[in-house]
Symmetry: D3
Subunit: 189 residues, 6 copies
């Protein structure tokens, strides 16, 4: 089963969602399972898509690859199979790097990154797993590495969004579409 | 400071948000700080409100008080001051109980609840703190206690939503409005 | 039930304890449940009161409010409902602050405090939860923040005393008296 | 240094404590360092001795060896060198077993014990390290293994007392007297 | 750098190791970096190979794929990038499954497996991360799922061997050879 | 039982192992149980001995006592009774110190050591318990304390070897030989 609670196929979604997810499906060649799993709750799926797009498609600040870096690092720390496999594929493509995603997902704490990448991942991990300890020290370290206030917000808010997404995937025992596993593995570095 | 990244006052929000939050402010007598803190990112605030309403104002399944129980339990486990204080107030009012919120927030694992309440909180806690261990056993226990599939989804999805909200509050060092602390403390049990 | 092992009422205590707790009861308007729960073991209750008074009523060094700060912070970290609710009330009164106790109890690691308050709470938390890691570095940090040797001892010893008290409360599933929840909430800051 | 905060020698203690600890010193052949370390706070030392004697010298319920078993198991779990070495010696003598103490202290979770011993240690460990999770299930398991309410209290209260003692030892970096290391090692099983 | 301490190339190894690893290199098309990283300590590399072969090439009991399952599950739990990537490739090949390795490595606790697979992974995880809690209960669960004593030994001993290997990889910041990432991804299930 | 899976006596081992372990037995006066427990898998026992000797009998770099210090510290952190008791005895002899082993095993994080000893133990502990967090910072700290690259390797590799040994002991519920408990306790410091 792709989701513990069953799935809703594209054609059974309300029209606005059918269209919106149809565009994604056309681009990917398949309907990512997360949309099928959330489909029976259209209001929630709509808000999920809105939140996702507001943060992941934002043009200012963090690059698209950096946004996916946050997703893969925190989903790895949360051991979320769907998000690691699906967003790992996107990170390979966005970063044009066939190895980065597996390395980030397996050990985000020690994966070799440049200073900016390390600062982004450290900030994200601090908020992801022990949020009660997150404070001024973490913010200060990010600033020292050159992140702007706006970028710090993005890292934090994406981490928060995937704290939610990861748990939705754990809740539903969400299975990655088979296509994701191999996508972007032939990138040339 | 009410938020580490500054706040946006009601009058500076886009019209739709001003109206929407205006309604809440009128009812409460003040603008809850979470809206002021998220205000400089209207698209995110809009998605946040939509997600919140889709889950917290749903009429089927869990009662309003039970929804707040999930919020207070997981926010307590995540040591999120804003959510514990603000939703603690709401729980006191919804459950018509002046003590329940403090007891749930301080020790959600062992607070005395009836069987249904305990099942709801156990399910929420399992997903909140170590989502990688969440699985069929937790779902099964919830079913045994009589929760429907729809109610299980609600508990899980609210837990996920506040995994996000808690982290946004930690990110912004969000301060509870002073009014929340005393609200609902004169409930008669 | 106020305690898992039953309670002993004031009138059934040995005379010295009846008198001693009678004074407290008169001042508060009720007999705090901890004394009723420990009452069937008079020798232990006597030692408990002696230890408590030796540390909490000491006139040198830490202020009364600072002593309660240690209690609320470590009881929060230990998720002890009785101590958080009862000593939260006392902290509100001693610190003349209606919000501090809830904020300290919910997230002692990140609650905003002045430098001295932060040093006190950091020292207490280090000893409370992972005592095996406590060492010279924690002592040194406290000294740097201006705490005297005597004050460091007080913070450590109060933390130790409530490591015991918290566990007695967990052992007995001790319930806070209803009066504690609202006490001191009308303090003006 | 035997204690981070200095020590008070027997002859410098108030008369009642000098006498009381003098008796212990005579029996052991030396003054256990814990008394020297607490000596500069006579009121606290007095309460400590009273609490200790009320629980450790009680004649009902748990045997003397079982009381020491609780101390060594929880002090091992708390990595408290003074208590493990000093009470390890007493356990060897009380249990007439030269190996038990080292085995309990090193791995209290899995050390081989008879059913009653295992129930005592399990109850103690549950309360010692994650008291927030301690509840009816732990009490029930102890009852099933045949422990009386009075014995359950003893196990819990001794665990609580040494949660305090261990932290006092960590606070003071308390050194075990050299004599303790070898005491009782020639017991015949 | 492929290893924090430098590498030794095949031609610089002592003859017996050059031959032995030469065979592996010929089969794979490259020299796995673990051998280059351990090469400057030939006696250790020799013992490592012997231990590895004794456990991983054993013909009785566990299948080859099941042995790799233990490796990938525990290396995932230990966040060891080299072992996850290298043995993930071998698992894909041995299990003739292009998805299993990523799913096991990302969340070994909840990955869907048949009963025997689940028992193997549960046993391995129990020993891998909190060995102090490992005991008769874990052994009993494995027996109940049908594992023989010999198979239980194999699961435990492979887990132990990779507790070592993982730490050698962490010590040396060992990089997976690029070839491993894509190997076995075109398996048909 | 000395091992959960039974033991193999010296005379039933293959000739090379009988001879090799015979030498140890003659020197100690008894056959250490670890060899009896591993004896039914001669190839594994052989590799174990080879690995052990390659690291523990190496003449360069760390002293013999320092190698045992790593073993006792990490075995203490892993709560491995066999290794703590057996190697505790060896450490007492090698370090000519009757107290060091008990202090290191009980609390390796805070035991008082000179700067070099502390650096060795800190490095070992970092790798032993949360290997995923081990990285350049730990290596750098060791270098600053004066450890050579070769010594750092030794500390790391011995830690890794005993990550394995400890787990084999946990797997087999390995009992220390009674002789180990008292060995070396009459050392003069």
């Amino acid at each position: 089963m792709d989701s513990r609670f069953g799935v809703t196929e594209l054609e059974d979604l309300p029209e606005d969602l059918r269209e919106r997810i149809g565009v994604i499906a056309e681009k990917s060649g398949f309907v990512p399972n997360v949309f099928r799993a959330l489909g029976h709750r259209p209001a929630e799926l709509r808000a999920f898509l809105d939140y996702h797009d507001a943060l992941m498609e934002r043009s200012d600040g963090l690059s698209k690859a950096e946004r996916e870096l946050v997703v893969v690092a925190t989903s790895g720390a949360n051991h979320c199979t769907y998000c690691v496999v699906a967003h790992g594929a996107i990170l390979r493509i966005r970063a044009k790097d066939p190895q980065l995603a597996d390395r980030v997902a397996t050990n985000p704490w020690q994966v070799e990154l440049d200073e900016r990448g390390r600062a982004i991942v450290d900030l994200a991990l601090a908020l992801a797993r022990k949020p009660e300890l997150f404070g001024e020290a973490e913010i200060e370290a990010a600033r020292k590495a050159g992140l702007t206030e706006d970028e710090i917000w993005d890292v934090g808010a994406i981490t928060a969004l995937f704290a939610m997404s990861n748990r939705l995937a754990h809740l539903t025992a969400l299975r990655p579409n088979p296509e994701f596993y191999a996508m972007g593995r032939d990138q040339k570095r």
